[in-house]
Symmetry: C2
Subunit: 133 residues, 2 copies
DNA sequence: CGTTGACTTAAAGTTTAGTTCAAGGTTTAT
DNA sequence: ATAAACCTTGAACTAAACTTTAAGTCAACG
C-alpha cells in the first residue's frame, strides 16, 4: 500500500493531479486509512497509469470519465468501451502521422541550415526568410 | 496571390487563426492590398504551413515567435535556430514513443475485451474493474 | 508542547491558444 | 441604392486541465 506521495513518485505524476483525477471520478474505489488519507495498491497504480497514458495521448478527461462509468456498469458496456478505444486508436494513428510529417519537415529545415553553414548558398532557396527578407 | 479566405481554405486553418498568428508576429512581411486587406503568396502559405506543422506537434507560440525573430536577424542566428529545431525533434521523438506505448496499451485492452466477449472468462484478470468492482 | 510536514477539502487562479464580438470599411450583385 | 459578402481592428470571452491557495486535521520528532 502506498501514500499519495509514494504513488506520485512511482507514477511521476503530481499528487494534486492524482487528487484531481480522483475528484473527477477517474479513480473509483480508492480506499482511505483511518485518517481519511488515500491509500493506493498496485492495481490502483496500474489504473492511474492507464489513465495518464490515455491522457498523454490526447483523450479528454470527459472521455476517460465515460470509460470509467461504463466500466463500473459491468460487462454489458464492453461494446461501448471498445468503440471508444477503437476511436482513440484511430486518433493515435492520426497523431503518429502528424508527428512523422513534422519530423520530416524539421529534418529538411536542419539540412538546409547545414548547407548554409557549410557555405552552399545555392541551397538557401529552401529557406523562407533568407529568400525574401 | 490569395485573400485570407482562400489561404484559410488552402491551409485548412481558420482565417482568424491566421490573423492571430500574424498579430503574434509569426508571419512577418505579410503584404496588404489597397484596402489594407492581407494578401498571401505561395511562399506565405508555405511558411504558415510550417508554423501550423510545428504547432500541431506541440511547439508553443512563444517558441515559434523566437524562431521567427531569429530568422529575421539573418544567418548569424542559424546556430540558435538549429538548436531549437534539434530540441523540437527530440521532443517529437519522445511523443512518438508515448504514442507507440499508448497504442500498445489500447491494443491490449481491446484484446481483453475480445476475449471477454468471446467468453473466455479466465482472461478477465487483465481488466481492472472486472477484477475488483 | 510546539512545530514540522504530509495529508485533507473547496474554491479560486493560471495558462495557452485560440474564438467570438462589436464596430466599422469596401466592393460586388440585384 | 442597398444589401450581401468580403475584409479590418481590439478587446472580451471561452475551454481544458491543471495549479495554487486557504484553511484545516493528524502523527511524529525534539
Amino acid at each position: 500500500m502506498f501514500t499519495i506521495k509514494e504513488a506520485s513518485e512511482k507514477l511521476n505524476c503530481p499528487a494534486h493531479t492524482i487528487r484531481f483525477y480522483d475528484k473527477e471520478g477517474l479513480l473509483p474505489n480508492i480506499r482511505r486509512d483511518d485518517n481519511g488519507n488515500r491509500i493506493f495498491d498496485k492495481k490502483d497504480l496500474d489504473w492511474i497509469r492507464l489513465m495518464t497514458c490515455f491522457r498523454a495521448t490526447g483523450m479528454s478527461i470527459a472521455d476517460l470519465k465515460k470509460i470509467v462509468e461504463l466500466a463500473l456498469q459491468g460487462e454489458a458496456t464492453i461494446g461501448q468501451r471498445r468503440a471508444i478505444l477503437e476511436a482513440h486508436q484511430e486518433e493515435i494513428k492520426r497523431k503518429q502521422q502528424v508527428l512523422n510529417e513534422a519530423f520530416e519537415a524539421v529534418s529538411q529545415k536542419l539540412e538546409v541550415y547545414n548547407q548554409i553553414q557549410k557555405g552552399n548558398p545555392e541551397d538557401r532557396f529552401l529557406t523562407y526568410f533568407d529568400e525574401r527578407p
